[in-house]
């Protein structure tokens, strides 16, 4: 088990008022993302627990692109990863933001 944590400045606050949402499942090759609106509007935090060690650089790149594309200001995203591939991670992160924004982005 490896734990990783990334904090970013976000350009915009995530839309909506919903306080939290959960997407995905913890399974082999999959992941669960809990998203909570707990941070100041220009901050976001991604906290990762993963069963696969040694992919820190890939996580860093996936998270940076996610923040740039979706601008999840005010959100804390906690990931429980069962060894998902980066494409799945990017998809679940985007789904998590959509879920907490309560509408299609």
């Amino acid at each position: 088990m490896e734990q990783l944590n990334y904090r970013h400045v976000a350009a915009k606050r995530a839309k909506g008022t919903q306080s939290q949402a959960l997407v995905g499942v913890v399974a082999s090759g999959n992941l669960e993302v809990l998203v909570e609106r707990t941070l100041p509007d220009d901050e976001c935090e991604i906290d990762i627990r993963t069963v696969v060690e040694g992919f820190g650089e890939v996580w860093r790149a996936v998270v940076a692109d996610f923040v740039e594309r979706r601008s999840p200001g005010g959100l804390k995203l906690s990931i429980n990863d069962g060894g998902a591939r980066p494409d799945m991670v990017a998809l679940r992160l985007a789904q998590a933001v959509r879920a907490v924004e309560g509408e299609r982005s």
């Binding site: 992919f55 890939v58 790149a61 996936v62 980066p86 494409d87 799945m88 789904q95 959509r98």
Partner: protein, 548 residues
């Protein structure tokens, strides 16, 4: 005086040696090994029919049981290395040299035997290439083949899985070789004649039907959202703008997703009748919903697929069938069809390098190619025009006069940037190169050469290599869709951005696709059971795909 019929005399004496075990053409299965010891000679080229699907398994067991003191140094020339016995003959010293095309199920063991030196490798061929060599420099002295049934004269009915049999038998029978067939049963009257009896020398009735490998069944339940996204990209970004009507699909999950999106996503895009109407394709169960929805005009098949026979029989407007009603497949003709009459091949691979070369060879697996290199290559002898072919040719070479410009086949590699066990799809150097070095091969086993690849589709987007004007652009077009792999992270962002502005790279948003719309609800069937339902109960999936 010069003798001009040495080979015929040799064949006659082999036939005589074998006749001891035969009544007419029939040989008891208990005598199979003795028959082979009588008719085969050391150093012979032997084709032990191992196709992509159909396996002459009784004859494989019989050959693996011959006395290696009597029969040795055989040169095996067969398209598929699929059964354990196909390699046992090398371990036992019965065979020495191998020329083949595909070794999917034996990919790990064949790698060990190659590294260990027990197999002297001629080459890994594409199917059509190996069949071609049957007629030039790899003509078998003995062919061991499989059919469904035989009559008293030795006429054969191959049923839906005709596959390689006609190509093998023609080369052997007409060049003084011996043809031995295993059949499931001997009957008075065949449903149809696929191989004439006077091309067949011995017939052995097996105690069980020959083995067929189910290769083309993809369970829709296992299709991921990322695969659906790549399928949406391919449909909207390639099938639609080029108007691809004549095509071949690989066997991966990405192309299975495309098949299942035709009646849903593609239908909503108004593409019915515009794309994917004529196919060189095995009977993929995942194409059933598109067929039932009226998308598909015609399909010619390399072989059959387990469980599809009744469905095919009931859809003769779509498939090629015989007077008996069952499928007539033919690998050689379907490969030619894919090469010359299809405008697109789209399939998955395991590794793509920075030049776009792709290979399914990895460090410890030598899976061979099968048909992909034929399907995935530009036929330089093609002369008939079609819209996609002309358009692709124009994109590659906009300055030549149109009437003198070659068209181009669309050769599309599709996949997720990371595969099983997080193995990256994109690599700096193919494992195939290491293999070539280790085995001292003149050629690395490259499945599709980079200069044949026209597009690469991943979840990150589409790279159109036709539009690249130099090596550097090409490399960055590939890096630009390579996602978070090391190759992808090694991109020059500005160069990739410029390629995107020129349409060389297209992102999902450039095509109006929201990755969040890539939902399993888009699949016309989400389980094997759904496919059975679509088929009106005609599709009978093999038990390993049934969970009800």
């Amino acid at each position: 005086m010069t003798v001009w019929d040495n080979a015929r005399r040799a064949r006659d004496s082999r036939l005589q040696a074998g006749a001891r075990f035969a009544q007419g053409k029939r040989v008891a299965r208990e005598d199979a090994t003795a028959l082979l010891e009588a008719v085969i000679q050391p150093g012979d080229r032997v084709c032990l029919e191992g196709d992509n699907q159909k396996q002459a398994d009784l004859l494989a067991v019989a050959l693996a049981a011959v006395d290696s003191g009597k029969i040795h140094d055989l040169h095996m020339v067969q398209s598929g290395v699929v059964l354990p016995e196909h390699l046992d003959v090398f371990e036992k010293g019965i065979a020495k040299r191998l020329d083949y095309a595909y070794s999917g199920p034996q990919s790990q063991r064949i790698a060990r035997l190659l590294f260990g030196g027990q197999i002297e490798l001629g080459a890994v061929h594409t199917y059509l290439e190996l069949f071609a060599r049957y007629y030039v420099d790899l003509t078998p002295q003995v062919a061991l083949i499989a059919a469904v049934s035989a009559d008293r004269e030795g006429n054969l009915y191959t049923g839906p899985n005709t596959e390689d049999t006609p190509a093998i038998v023609e080369a052997t029978a007409f060049k003084d070789g011996i043809v031995i067939a295993q059949v499931n049963e001997v009957v008075d009257k065949l449903p149809r004649v696929d191989i004439p009896g006077d091309w067949v020398n011995f017939v052995i009735e097996s105690d069980k039907p020959f083995y067929v490998e189910p290769l083309f069944t993809r369970d829709p339940a296992a299709i991921t959202e990322t695969q659906i996204l790549t399928a949406m990209l391919a449909i909207k970004g390639i099938y639609a703008p080029y108007g691809v009507q004549r095509l071949n699909h690989g066997i991966g999950f990405n192309t299975a997703a495309i098949e299942l999106l035709l009646p849903t996503y593609a239908e909503r895009l108004g593409l019915k009748g515009q794309i994917a109407t004529h196919w060189a394709l095995n009977p993929h169960p995942t194409l059933i919903p598109a067929i039932e929805s009226g998308w598909v005009k015609q399909i010619h098949s390399f072989g059959s697929e387990v469980g599809m026979d009744d469905y095919i029989r009931a859809r003769s407007d779509v498939y090629f069938t015989g007077p008996d009603g069952s499928l007539r497949s033919n690998r050689a003709f379907s490969q030619v069809a894919g090469l010359y009459a299809c405008d697109m091949f789209i399939g998955a691979t395991l590794q793509i390098d920075l030049q776009g070369n792709s290979s399914t060879v990895t460090a410890d697996r030598v899976a061979g190619f099968g048909g992909a290199p034929n399907m995935g290559s530009d036929a330089r002898g093609r002369r008939h025009p079609s819209k996609p072919w002309l358009q692709a040719g124009k994109e590659a070479d906009p300055d030549s006069p149109a009437a003198l410009r070659r068209g181009r086949k669309l050769v599309v590699q599709i996949g997720e940037t990371f595969g099983e066990k997080n193995a990256p799809l994109f690599v700096e150097h193919l494992d195939a190169l290491k293999l070539a070095e280790k085995l001292d091969l003149d050629l690395a086993p490259v499945m599709v050469y980079g200069d044949d690849v026209t597009h690469i589709v991943t979840e990150e987007g589409i790279a159109n290599l036709l539009l690249c004007r130099d090596k550097d652009e090409r490399e960055h077009a590939i890096r630009g869709v390579a996602g978070y792999t090391e190759v992808g992270r090694g991109r020059d962002r500005k160069l990739v951005q410029r390629l995107r502005e020129r349409g060389v790279i297209q992102r999902p948003e450039d095509l109006g696709i929201d990755p969040l719309d890539a939902d399993r609800n888009l699949l016309a069937a989400r389980s094997i059971k759904d496919l059975v339902r679509w088929s009106g109960g005609l599709y009978a999936p093999p038990s390993k795909f049934r969970n009800w």
